[in-house]
């Protein structure tokens, strides 16, 4: 707790990011309960209404309430970002840890696989997957997760390698402790730090990549409210009805920036030499 306070005091940027994130989370969790309009209620007579008392952020080309789409879309987008990272983290970290712990040919094989995956641009993978399996958010998520997993694998492997080389792990092995036990209690629990930092930064990346896929029509499918898809679909109205695209756009910017600020501060924190002193 004491450490947390110290962290907060010396990393004002991270605090700002955390507060932003908190505001966003509260907003998308709570406010929809009071909204008058749903995200998919069409009203052909009320298209492109500028922000006013009834529609705080105006309406889009179908007459749907932009605020409602923003908040419901936020739920979707954040859920997607976290799910993608959770998947990438689990798969990547597991492989990487095992790879670093086992060493030898297992390590070599896994790292070749990681290299092969890394040389695939995630966008190509996503498009190909979407073409194979049909365009849907789930497939886009799968593709982004596959593209993020090698990053986790690398970090996890590095951690596993350095921890496995420590004397206390040697001692545990010679004591005859079972490998899964060693893996969990020594390697994983000690090596979690950098992985969590990586995860925090990866959420932002996942949201951005999903947005790019939405731009190409491969993310969330109509009429699902989602920040990336809404932003991409409404950029063309920026001249005359800017609020429709600005809302999801700024939301993406704020959320990703928040995650990045927190992650960046955590990264600096975990290395004593780069730790802030003010």
């Amino acid at each position: 707790m004491h450490e947390l306070v110290y962290f907060a005091r010396t990393n004002r940027l991270a605090v700002a990011g955390a507060l932003m994130l908190l505001a966003i989370l509260v907003g998308i969790a709570v406010v929809p309960l009071w909204l008058a309009y749903g995200p998919n209620t069409l009203a052909v007579s009320e298209r492109f209404v500028a922000p006013d008392a009834r529609h705080w952020l105006g309406t889009d080309l179908f007459g749907r309430d932009v605020l409602s789409r923003l908040l419901y879309g936020g739920r979707y987008t954040l859920a997607v970002g976290c799910a993608v990272v959770a998947l990438a983290f689990t798969v990547g970290a597991t492989f990487g840890t095992l790879s670093g712990y086992c060493g030898g040919w297992v390590d070599a094989l896994m790292m070749r696989l990681v290299d092969a995956l890394l040389s695939f641009p995630s966008l190509v993978l996503a498009i190909a997957l979407a073409a194979c399996l049909g365009p849907s958010l789930v497939n886009a998520m799968l593709a982004v997760a596959i593209s993020l997993a090698p990053g986790f694998a690398r970090v996890a492997r590095g951690q596993a390698l350095s921890i496995s080389a420590r004397p206390y792990v040697d001692a545990a092995i010679s004591m005859g402790l079972p490998h899964p036990h060693i893996l969990w209690h020594y390697v994983v629990r000690n090596g979690l730090g950098p992985l969590l930092v990586q995860a925090s930064l990866a959420v932002g990346s996942a949201i951005l990549q999903t947005a790019s896929l939405g731009y190409l029509g491969l993310g969330a499918q109509a009429p699902q409210a989602e920040w990336g898809a809404d932003l991409a679909a409404n950029l063309q109205y920026l001249d005359r009805s800017p609020w429709i695209a600005l809302a999801p756009g700024l939301a993406i910017l704020a959320t990703v920036l928040a995650f990045n600020l927190i992650g960046d501060a955590l990264a600096s924190w975990s290395n004593p030499k780069t730790r802030s002193s003010r």
């Binding site: 998919n40 069409l42 052909v44 007579s45 298209r47 080309l61 179908f62 073409a131 049909g134 365009p135 029509g217 499918q221 109509a222 009429p223 679909a233 950029l235 063309q236 109205y237 001249d239 005359r240």
Partner: protein, 515 residues
């Protein structure tokens, strides 16, 4: 060293001037959304960008006469005549026409070109399958023998795919030589296509020196380039997948860009799979219910505001065979009736669940979203699945759908372009059809309507056809895109054809101050 750098910088700046006005007035920059897929009429399968370039590189025997494009005029042919029984078309060629490599155009060259196209181009096979033989009857005369009477055949010769190329000495894979107003200077794939004036063109040299087709796949970039950048013309093919309502309003206000509109004969509709007895839409009441459920006015005037027209049946209102009585008997927005019919068919609200397949793109997304809401209102649960062109075509041909959004763009100005390929049951399993089940009476009527020579009799037959087809509700007919062309005020002399919706630039020129 420093002095050298300064000198180079000054040299750079000194020579950095914008291209002079004369070059600017002589060059037309056209923005297209994709590369041409084939610049050889014999291999181009009705792909729009390539087809437009072909019309400017080559000539057809006959062409639609500007500015109204409602009748044919001779292009490479000076005279033509259909025999009384409608089975022989005689053509006389214009003398003195040369291919761009200098060779003279004669009847034998035309015969070779048409035979080659019929042999190589599967798209043409559908329309040229009626050709039995092409016979050269003189140095500048030839006769085409048809297997059955076909009054529309002359119109088929105006298609870009039927343009005349020089076949003699042509190696496989080589770009053939044409007679057209422009010649191909360079094609840089994914980037641009440069055409230059053919000074020996038989109608007189074009007024522009150079045409540059710029390939700009991203719609918002195209828009920016048109308003603020160097693009002069955005032809209709660039606007067909978007909803340019906003752009039209914006251009009306700032006068930087002018809008040219024309009606088209395109039909966009919601297809039913008429070929599957297990599908829920096999029941006529379900199809009728869905037709009553659509808010046509909201779609045409609201969502797609001002850039489309309503279509009331199998033929668009712009077709000469359109029966005005269709307007009175067409479906309109009546959710109560829809719900009643659905109940009769055994589908209480929420029971019927369907997947709506559609193409990608802003316009299709909007239409699909709107229809989904309409159907939800009457208790039909519709899930939208959009995918890309080849996937959807495969799905259509295999019949793996219940409802799907699709459209049809005719390539010649005749009602037959919509009817035969769409509704003839023998063609049901090929592409771009409504998968009609076998119906000898209907099929007979279709064949008769296209073979009869007398125009007023044809019109009567097509009226009958429209009514009979509407009674079967093979689709929910939605709208027809207007052809919208954007141009800079400097650009003059443009004429917009509707079928096919392509632009010939021979008569186009630029004048006036640069923007």
């Amino acid at each position: 060293m420093r002095r050298l750098a300064l000198f180079l910088a000054l040299l750079c700046l000194a020579s950095c001037q914008a291209p002079d006005d004369k070059a600017q007035l002589q060059t037309l920059v056209i923005a297209v959304p994709s590369d041409p897929v084939g610049l050889d009429p014999a291999t181009n399968k009705a792909e729009p960008v390539g087809s437009e370039v072909i019309l400017n590189l080559f000539d057809t025997l006959l062409a639609w006469a500007p500015p109204a494009f409602d009748h044919l005029e001779g292009r490479l042919a000076s005279q033509w005549a259909l025999s009384a029984d409608g089975r022989q078309l005689s053509l006389t060629l214009r003398p003195g026409v040369r291919f761009q490599d200098g060779t003279a155009l004669d009847a034998q060259a035309v015969q070779q070109s048409l035979n080659r196209a019929a042999r190589l181009n599967p798209f043409l096979a559908a329309s040229f399958r009626a050709i039995q033989r092409i016979e050269v009857t003189g140095p500048l005369t030839l006769r085409i023998d048809l297997a059955e009477p076909m009054p529309t055949f002359a119109a088929l010769l105006a298609q870009p795919q039927a343009a005349i190329v020089k076949v003699a000495g042509l190696r496989p894979g080589q770009q053939p030589s044409g007679t057209g107003a422009f010649r191909l200077r360079r094609y840089s794939p994914d980037n641009e296509l440069i055409l230059e004036r053919n000074d020996d063109y038989f109608r007189g040299p074009a007024r522009l020196q150079r045409l540059v087709y710029r390939v700009i796949p991203d719609a918002s970039t195209r828009r920016l380039e048109l308003r603020y950048g160097g693009v002069d013309v955005s032809p209709p093919i660039s606007q067909l997948a978007t909803i340019p309502t906003d752009d039209i309003q914006a251009f009306a206000e700032d006068h930087k860009v002018q809008v040219v509109q024309a009606r088209s004969q395109i039909i966009r509709q919601l297809d039913f799979n008429n070929d599957n007895p297990d599908s829920p839409v096999h029941d006529l009441r379900v199809r009728q219910a869905m037709a009553w459920a659509v808010d046509y006015d909201g779609l045409v005037n609201g969502i797609l505001g001002g850039v489309v027209e309503r279509v009331y049946g199998p033929l668009p209102t712009a077709s000469w065979a359109f029966d005005p009585a269709m307007q009175a008997t067409a479906f309109h927005h009546d959710p109560a009736k829809a719900r009643q019919l659905l109940a009769e068919a055994g589908y209480p609200p929420g029971r019927l669940k369907l997947t709506l397949y559609g193409f990608q793109g802003a316009m299709w997304t909007s239409v699909a979203t709107f229809l989904q809401a309409n159907f939800a209102e009457v208790g039909i649960d519709v899930r939208i699945e959009q995918s890309e062109f080849s996937l959807l075509r495969a799905r259509h041909v295999a019949g793996h759908f219940d409802i799907a959004l699709d459209g049809r763009q005719p390539w010649y100005n005749d009602p037959d372009a919509h009817i035969t390929q769409g509704y003839l049951s023998s063609l049901a399993r090929s592409a771009m059809t409504f998968r009609m089940p076998p119906d000898p009476a209907l099929d007979g009527l279709i064949v008769q309507a296209r073979s009869v020579a007398d125009a007023s009799l044809r019109k009567q037959l097509y009226s009958q056809l429209q009514q009979q087809l509407m009674a079967r509700v093979p689709a929910v007919y939605l709208f027809s895109n207007k052809l919208i062309l954007f141009k800079r005020p400097q650009v003059q002399g443009l004429a917009l054809n509707s079928a096919p919706p392509l632009v010939e630039y021979w008569s186009v020129y630029k004048e006036g101050p640069a923007p």
